[in-house]
């Protein structure tokens, strides 16, 4: 059998995979690269699928890198191709066609997939969708388009469920349909907001006419009918399942690599398998804001991990070792930015439509939530990421607004004046 050999094979074509390509090419301009993806598309931005449905972008503009990216970076692409297994010993991957490719270094950036709990009667629901991929979004749009007065039921009031809600809102509303959101959690966006912030966001989305049933789960589906845990019944036409996601770890796990909830890597993104690296939503990251290993399924982190792995794979060891959870998201024009961990003392401020909470402990900013006025939030992020001691800045001033004025003159001379200290 003719086995094609590459210096680098990258499984996955989203942020972590592209980061890997760009990391490799900063060091190694010639080593052969293969990019394999089960999706048949040029790299696209996954979080933009809700903006696509909303009409704020299109399939051309949502490309994560320009046309010609693979050619410019000397990559062979295997798009619409699934990988069946990794053979870590002989350094090969087997494709579903049975073809075998050999690698010197392998990146596994397989992302995550929807987690669907075993709902009773789910198989009886005629129109049900996840909301993770471009195909998911196109199928959902198609279902809404061919349904008169579509009643959409979204299970999950997290980032994915609520972005989906926003994405389909105009179309559903124009067709005189309705959107209902159910979540087991008593609050929306429970992974990124505290109770006060969640209440603000919930009432803002409710004011658009979206109905919430929180603290509820679906005890049974029966065709186009859902029975909630409190016994009430909802009828719907289209079901979106956005309960959660789980890291895709099976390729590495089945090859004998160390996994927990996600793939375990060292700080250079190397797995326990020789010459196999992993990055993005499929791995566990070390969160420096709380000192724990956890899943941080965010795009900027995925890119940084991929880039660090690419540099390392090409021979220039580089660690991305300042990962923190962080999200910038908005619904119906209400923007929010959150980062870090919500532990320690808290400074809160609420003014009109804006809300802010800063969490600090041990002379460090640990986390923050900003809603409404999010200007210059990155200054807070940098305090967390760079672990800047709060006694070296005017924290009282920073609480009021993020500003470089609160930093030392020396810091400013270095950052703004280019003065080398």
């Amino acid at each position: 059998m003719n086995v094609k050999t590459y210096k680098y094979i990258i499984i996955g074509n989203s942020a972590a995979g592209i980061g890997t390509v760009e990391g490799i090419r900063r060091i190694d301009g010639v080593g052969s690269i293969a990019v394999i993806s089960s999706e048949p598309y040029h790299t696209y931005s996954r979080p933009l699928i809700s903006y696509l449905l909303e009409g704020k972008t299109d399939t051309e503009r949502m490309k994560y890198r320009p046309d010609g990216f693979y050619e410019a970076n000397g990559c062979d692409t295997y798009l619409g191709v699934s990988v069946s297994s990794i053979e870590a010993g002989p350094h090969t991957v087997t494709l579903e066609s049975g073809d075998v490719l050999k690698y010197s270094k392998l990146m596994v950036s397989t992302g995550s997939e929807p987690f669907v709990p075993p709902f009773k009667g789910l198989e009886s629901v005629p129109e049900k969708f996840s909301f993770m991929t471009l195909d998911d979004a196109l199928r959902l749009r198609n279902a809404i388009d061919r349904t008169a007065q579509p009643k959409v039921l979204i299970i999950g009031a997290g980032l994915i469920g609520l972005k989906c809600c926003e994405g389909i809102y105009n179309t559903v509303t124009d067709k005189k349909g309705s959107i209902t959101v159910v979540d087991l959690s008593p609050k929306v966006l429970s992974s990124i907001l505290n109770d006060d912030a969640a209440a603000i966001v919930k009432s803002s989305i409710e004011s658009k006419g979206v109905t919430f049933h929180l603290g509820q789960t679906v005890s049974e589906f029966d065709g186009k009918r859902a029975v909630l845990s409190d016994g009430s019944e909802l009828s719907f036409d289209i079901l979106v399942l956005a309960v959660g996601v789980k890291p895709r770890i099976s390729l590495v796990k089945d090859a004998g690599g160390e996994t927990e909830r996600g793939i375990i890597t060292d700080k250079y993104q190397k797995t326990s398998l020789e010459d196999v690296y992993a990055a993005g939503d499929c791995v566990q990251s070390f969160d420096i804001s709380c000192g724990k290993s956890r899943i941080l399924a965010i795009l900027p982190g995925a890119y940084r991990q991929g880039e660090a792995a690419g540099l390392t794979m090409a021979g220039c060891a580089y660690a991305y070792d300042c990962a923190i959870p962080m999200n910038a998201i908005g619904f119906f024009g209400l923007h929010m930015i959150t980062a870090g961990s919500y532990e320690g003392d808290v400074y809160t401020e609420s003014d009109g439509g804006s809300y802010k909470a800063l969490y600090y402990k041990d002379n460090l900013l640990k986390g923050y939530i900003m809603i409404g006025n999010v200007a210059r939030a990155g200054i807070y992020t940098s305090l967390i990421r760079e672990k800047i001691p709060l006694d070296s800045v005017d924290f009282g001033m920073l609480c009021k607004e993020p500003a470089l004025m609160a930093f030392s003159q020396k810091y400013r001379a270095e950052k703004l004046g280019g003065v080398v200290i």
């Binding site: 980061g19 903006y51 704020k56 972008t57 900027p300 910038a328 210059r376 939030a377 990155g378």
Partner: protein, 142 residues
């Protein structure tokens, strides 16, 4: 590469840099025609408190966190200059979350804007520095 540098010792908080920034984006030839009574939304902003003041604009970082974090691929780096393709930006604010200097902000249309060193304007170089009366903002190689 040449960059914009700020020395707060010479800054009088006159805000001319903000006006020249806003003006440069208009392509007009007379400032009063386009900025009289206008609320300007410049990409350089002066911070001031007491007798300290200084202007802040994009540092064109060597490790540009905004570019690396951009979810749409709208921000990119070429020859050390960070620029934004506004047609690709959806206004998600991830760059606002990422920038350690608070130097990227929404434009009037909602998508993001940042200092691009006036390279695509008719002047071709940063107008904040060119018109700073005190040399508190300079554009030079260091």
């Amino acid at each position: 590469m040449k960059k914009v540098y700020v020395n707060e010792k010479w800054c009088l908080a006159c805000h001319l840099c903000e006006y020249y920034c806003a003006f440069a984006a208009t392509g007009s030839d007379l400032m009063y025609k386009v900025l009289k009574n206008a609320v300007i939304n410049p990409r350089i902003r002066v911070e001031e408190k007491g007798n300290i003041s200084f202007a802040v604009s994009c540092r064109h970082c060597e490790v540009p966190l905004c570019v690396k974090g951009c979810i749409s691929g709208a921000l990119s780096e070429k020859d050390g200059v960070i620029s934004i393709d506004k047609s690709k930006c959806v206004g998600c604010y991830t760059c606002v979350l990422s920038c350690p200097y608070g130097a990227i902000m929404p434009s009037d249309s909602g998508v993001m804007q940042k200092c691009e060193l006036c390279l695509s304007t008719k002047e071709g170089e940063p107008q904040c520095a060119a018109h700073c009366p005190n040399g508190a903002i300079v554009y030079e190689e260091r």
